[in-house]
Subunit: 263 residues, 4 copies
């Protein structure tokens, strides 16, 4: 690995249902052609019907060229636990308690390159998990023994918490990529200690939708406040949102930009 | 109705699953014998498997002598909507938006006595519904045209909000009974303007449980923070918790006390 | 007003403390020169020390060329109420209850052009206010009697709620601009019925900061979880973030783009 | 200490402002006379003006016969930190992060008897602190090396979390006493492994109030939803609420009951 000049990573935001998977299938090839990434990582927490993952859906996504799937608050579907427990390519937020199914990090090897991926979940407006700052730093320091290339998917709601984690891990990990809000932010940048950062990379799924779900159903919910399972919007144009990152051989981000491709 | 000296109401806290229904079946008769209530009202939001209601479960509870079922945040199961829409005996919190299934109040007639029942849901730590203070007062003033006997089930989390609604409706309704926390409070009293009040009447279900659910499953959740559907605890002793209220002919509370009966 | 071809609006995201005000003072002139806006609107909820507004600060911001100040959850400082009550240029979210100080909308006239501005606050992860969808639509229909040019500042946390409001008011108002997260999103667009939309325009203040506040203080809070008042970061580079919108004479958005200017 | 037959503890719920302190001053003597407690512990998180504690207020409460003050979410006032840091008699919830002022437990010695007191804060509807289950158990096992008498004040909102902690620490600590809601529950009991338990002991302060604060101010807040600092209600009758517990020499609860004394 000593001769590696740099590595390139493509990251896709939350893939929402079959529309999101179709977007990956249809649009990822052109991105791969353009960016020639060494690794493709994506957040799959909404890939199966908008809520969670299944074995079949995970395998489908791998078949499109995704190497590692991160996830988030929606990954906890009991029927997925056996797969989550054995997989080295699907991870869940690392800051759940001891005994939670699956694991919160992985080191994925491809053509002799090793990419460490850590998944964390925020606590502001979300579940009271273990402190993502402390868990994240500890894991990062461990993974750095194996590889200088470490990507963190911080699946969180509050911008304040996300930016704070960026600064906290600045100089420790390669890049901190935010997910969960399904809306891409315009703040992709390199932090002072050379860690790449973006608050949220957005989502993959229907363009005319409310974070991937049917507009009329979401509106009905906001008007009545009656809780309901929203269905994935499957019609109309599809989009693929994410970020492209280049790391130098020390694992520092030397380039980061976001993309949005529409079918 | 002019000759009515007073009316007596028995109210049962959240009935949790089959254990809660068994508690009603086994223990309600002795309470009825003791208190001779004119009306039996109960909160049924957890009666079907711990989450929500079904037509079958509602009918079962009516067969045990319950006259009216109130509910709460857990009532929103799609398959229950047709029944909720047509029933005059099962209500849901009134402060959901226009277009929500079912209705938030009822006037139930029994032996020429009319009892108005209003169901409201709190907003602190819960959904951002319509203001329960304003909705509650407006409904109360309407129902008072029909009957002086008005019971409010305020299904809410925060003690502050519950006590505030009690004072707000003091002198307007007969009694404000709190539900939702599944733990009985010791503050049953008559407010200065003669409205009966209690922060929470408790629940009906398993004694050795965590608010009616299996202890080990709830503990696992608190340790891992992985969300999961908890199962109703069905073994061991059962309890029936609630309040007994006497109203004078003006609809004022003249007596209120809580009870807890254990099988 | 019949001959108006189009109107141009410059909107600035949450101005954070003295750093944000300095950014406005230093950087607004070049934006005005570039865009030649008819109106400059800004969110001032953090303009005084990071929390709320004062009369002095509001007047200072007007002196820099801002026409109307919107606000949000942080505006409620008792000493500001007299000014808020009388001002036609500072508004607060319209969906607080009757009796709240100030008002939630204004029609500002400048060179015979009238701009209607409505301020709303989200309820997801925020206070349980009145329904911003219903309040917003009602106000919009009223203001449309006076002017076709209506800007909505939706001060909200959840992307889902913000996008939903955009679709809900699409075709009714001219533009829905999101604020509150202090991070600019990359989704500025024109919705199907010609309403301009962006989830969040970002903030005005220190670049190296956590949503405008001191990094070390915010990190200390995330590590200890001890609540504390954060201080505004005043050093380093400053940024001005916002959106520029052009409306046609029917009040439809015909162009929207975001900007970020750094000192 | 070998000859100790049993120890008796009096615990007072959240003391709210000057009214709460007056209630302690006026009503504690008769309770002490009745119960002859070896230790008096009280929650002081609202003792200074309804929010937090000050050195002066803490010393005042000690002068009335309170031995140890626990606290909660409202204790974090900067000016109190020096005192909190040095005191062995005022503690704050133990599950804040490393670096938080003060400490979360104490062992208080009186007439050769040692009482271990642990303070924990819930996370449901509250701050995302460290896991109170894990922190609480670890501390309990440490303190047991010094004394078999261990009282836990679990300052929490959700009944589910409180009951869960009770079962989790059952057999490990002497008694788990809930605080924070300011409303006394009627569920004081001895759990299967001989740990005493109550969901909430209530508060000390004005009877006609909303959890100790002025009724009209709280109602104004619930109607407008404008946030405001509420003032302590100081007029009318006062109450002292709490629990009395007897432990055997093994540190097991052999008796627990609640009290409410009104002036
Ligand atoms: Fe997602
Ligand atoms: Fe998510
Ligand atoms: Fe319930
Ligand atoms: Fe409930
Ligand atoms: Fe702000
Ligand atoms: Fe805000
Ligand atoms: Fe308190
Ligand atoms: Fe508290």
């Amino acid at each position: 690995m000593e001769e590696v000049k740099e590595i390139k990573i493509l990251f896709l935001g939350d893939i929402v249902g079959s529309a999101g998977r179709k977007a990956v299938k249809d649009l990822l090839p052109e991105l791969v052609k353009k960016y020639q990434p060494d690794f493709v990582v994506a957040n799959g927490e909404n890939a199966a019907g908008g809520y969670g993952l299944t074995e079949k859906v995970a395998e489908e996504l791998f078949s499109y060229g995704i190497d590692v799937l991160t996830s988030g608050n929606h990954v906890w579907k009991k029927e997925f636990y056996p797969y989550l427990n054995k997989s080295e390519r699907v991870i869940r937020p690392a800051n759940y308690g001891e005994g939670a199914p699956g694991k919160g990090w992985t080191v994925y090897t491809k053509k002799e390159l090793k990419l460490g991926v850590i998944n964390l979940e925020g606590r502001i407006f979300m579940r009271p998990l273990l402190n993502p700052f402390l868990v994240g730093k500890k894991l990062a320091l461990e993974l750095k023994k194996e590889t200088p290339f470490i990507l963190v998917d911080f699946h969180a709601e509050a911008t304040s918490e996300k930016i704070a984690l960026g600064y906290f891990l600045d100089g420790i990990v390669s890049v901190v990529i935010g997910t969960h809000t399904h809306v891409q932010t315009s703040d992709a940048r390199i932090l002072p200690q050379n860690t790449g950062y973006i608050t949220d990379v957005g989502m993959c799924g229907a363009v005319e939708s409310i974070i991937g779900m049917k507009i009329d159903q979401a509106l009905e919910m906001y008007l009545t406040m009656v809780p309901r399972k929203l269905e994935v919007e499957k019609t109309g144009k599809l989009k693929l949102e994410g970020a492209f990152v280049r790391l130098n051989q020390k694992g520092e981000t030397i380039f980061i930009e976001t993309f949005r491709v529409i079918s």
